[in-house]
């Protein structure tokens, strides 16, 4: 008989070692062929290596639990209960990575140029739970509504596609730009469905990103989050845009994580702490809210929302707040000035 405290200890050690093994596996170059690690299904096509590991690509997406109200679900093989699923394709994973696919020459527009790709679907928490408890019997039923789907391809060289070349191949009529009208990457376009959802795609340097959701504002917030992650990626998977020289309270301001998203400087909120800004975070599976205070002034943001509340009323944000490395990233000038700080950017 195993005593319960020991069993829990052993389970903890097992879980921790499994996570450590998974993280190690994701941080190294995957072998050619197919592997599944910790719900991440990886195909290494065996082409010329771009040098990206699965962990490098995972860093481009919000984590499984970072979009409030959503989570990821690994598809399950359920036999005749789910005839759309095949045993020979299992395990399915919840995130899909393709490494070193394509050729080094640009003989065609997109797909045959050497690239790596990551794709993930998030589902509303209640639907994910219903699928896992088999109230929703099939994966097809699960994916029918509510999902957020993101895919990123990182190529060996800057993408040659244009809005016109993509439109020519697209059966949908694309709207140029973004739903909010705010610039996104080098080029962006979207499809709006009658229900208010749709797809938002953008190109930035060597990256092509496609996000679809039932709410285009959410899709755009996720897309901004991905653009930020591309720009600040430690391996510089894309060219970093020039960062203006920023002064806060008259002092040079160059914290870790500062970046310019099409001209809007964003920073993790923790970077404002040296200026007397305190932060209260409320994080549940459904909500990620942060309230910033400085003296009598306050500013409250939610992850992936385009509006904030402040001591002077409701504010429309230039960029939605989004998570990165446990922090929320926010538009610097809007937030800092609302808290009484002076910001100068050149």
């Amino acid at each position: 008989m195993i005593r319960r405290p020991f069993a829990l200890f052993a389970l903890s050690i097992f879980v921790l070692s499994t996570i450590a093994q998974a993280q190690h596996g994701l941080s190294t170059t995957s072998p050619t062929g197919q592997t599944v690690i910790d719900g991440v299904k990886i195909w290494n096509r065996g082409g010329i290596s771009l040098g990206h590991t699965p962990a490098d690509l995972l860093a481009l997406l919000p984590d499984a639990q970072e979009i409030p109200g959503y989570t990821v679900v690994a598809r399950e093989y359920r036999g005749q209960e789910d005839p759309g699923t095949f045993a020979w394709a299992a395990p399915f994973g919840h995130t899909w990575i393709v490494l070193n696919q394509g050729k080094t020459t640009m003989w065609s527009n997109t797909h045959d140029t050497l690239h790596c790709k990551i794709e993930r679907i998030w589902f509303p928490l209640e639907r994910a739970q219903a699928y896992l408890s088999r109230e929703i019997p099939t994966y097809a039923d699960l994916t029918r509504s509510g999902k957020i789907h993101a895919q990123i391809a990182v190529y060996i060289q800057p993408i040659q596609e244009t809005f016109e070349s993509v439109q020519r191949q697209s059966s949908a009529i694309l709207q140029r730009g973004t739903p909010s009208g705010k610039p996104l990457g080098d080029e962006a376009w979207y499809i709006r469905t009658p229900q208010g959802g749709g797809n938002l795609c953008f190109l930035y340097d060597k990256a092509q990103v496609d996000v679809s959701a039932e709410n285009l504002a959410t899709a755009e917030a996720v897309a901004q989050c991905i653009l930020y992650r591309l720009i600040v990626h430690p391996k510089r998977v894309v060219t970093q845009p020039p960062l203006p020289s920023v002064l806060v309270e008259g002092k040079p301001f160059t914290p870790r994580g500062i970046a310019s998203l099409n001209g809007v400087v964003v920073v993790p909120v923790s970077a404002l702490a040296p200026f007397g800004v305190t932060a209260e975070t409320l994080r549940t599976p459904e909500l990620w809210t942060i309230t910033l205070r400085r003296g009598s002034l306050w500013f409250r943001l939610q992850a992936f929302r385009w509006e904030a509340d402040s001591s002077v009323g409701r504010v429309k944000l230039l960029r939605a707040a989004f998570p990165y490395d446990g922090d929320l990233v926010v538009p610097l000038r809007q937030v800092a000035e609302a808290l009484g700080l002076t910001v100068q950017a050149q």
Partner: protein, 267 residues
């Protein structure tokens, strides 16, 4: 007749042997025998194992072409996800050809369920049907893609450039409610066709919303055309105004005439 292509063993029965997959194994090598209706046709000649696994499973029990075609079309519609019209697994698109990244499309379908846009559905359906030996299959688009071939004289006498068309209410794949259902405006649509009989199979959509059936062997004209197209939109090239024409026949130009076989690639 029993024949093989490399390591793939394919049975084409001369007696009514239904489509299916038979497990077969030697001492150390479990294998599958795929029973199909006839020798696979282009672009599935030779057929791919990953495609046969789908087609022979979905068309299991079929003993004739029409039943096999209907089964794989309905199954793809039931289980495949439409992506809203974003280019996915095709490129190098011309009016008479395109590359179809079949391996990537099948992998995407069996893991996440996503098939892609209409051209991916049409190309994958073509592969599924031809892998079973079905004859004379090709894919076609509703009209040419090249701008020069999309011009038409408008009722006011000016030249109009076709921008696209609005559909009647459709149920986009998968079967059942999804965010892409409704009456979308498309720049073109691609479907699978019989190059001689001019009938259409389309797993990307269905017209009868309460049914679980996709478009199966529907006469291309007038049935499919009139169920699909509600209004054409043109850009009047003289005054820059948008002109709408509610006549499905006004710019119905299936392209190319006999359809085309995409270049299915494993890259």
């Amino acid at each position: 007749m029993l024949w093989s292509e490399g390591l793939l063993l394919v049975w084409t029965g001369s007696w009514p042997l239904p489509v299916g997959v038979m497990p077969y194994s030697t001492v150390n090598t479990p294998s599958e025998v795929f029973v199909v209706l006839d020798a696979p046709k282009a672009p599935m000649s030779p057929a791919w194992v990953s495609v046969l696994r789908l087609s022979c499973s979905w068309a299991s029990g079929a003993t004739d072409d029409s039943t096999a075609a209907r089964k794989v079309t309905n199954a793809l519609h039931l289980w495949g996800d439409y992506n809203g019209g974003v280019p996915a697994f095709t490129n190098s698109v011309t009016d008479a050809s395109e590359n179809f990244y079949l391996r990537r499309c099948v992998e995407s379908f069996v893991t996440s369920g996503v098939v892609g846009q209409c051209s991916d559905f049409a190309d994958l359906l073509l592969c599924l049907q031809t892998s079973l030996g079905l004859n004379r299959r090709a894919v076609q688009r509703t009209h040419p893609l090249d701008s020069a071939a999309r011009e038409s004289q408008l009722p006011n006498g000016n030249t109009g450039l076709l921008l696209g068309f609005q559909t009647h209410v459709i149920d986009a794949a998968r079967y059942g409610a999804s965010q892409y259902d409704g009456s979308p405006t498309w720049s073109y649509h691609q479907f699978c066709t019989d190059s001689r009989d001019q009938v259409v199979w389309d797993a990307c959509l269905q017209f009868r919303l309460s049914h679980r059936v996709a478009v199966n062997a529907m006469p291309r004209e007038p049935d499919y055309r009139d169920h699909l197209v509600k209004t054409y939109y043109f850009l009047d090239q003289l005054n820059g105004l948008i002109v709408s024409i509610d006549d499905p026949a006004s710019f119905w130009r299936p392209t190319p005439t006999g359809g085309f076989i995409p270049n299915a690639t494993a890259n």
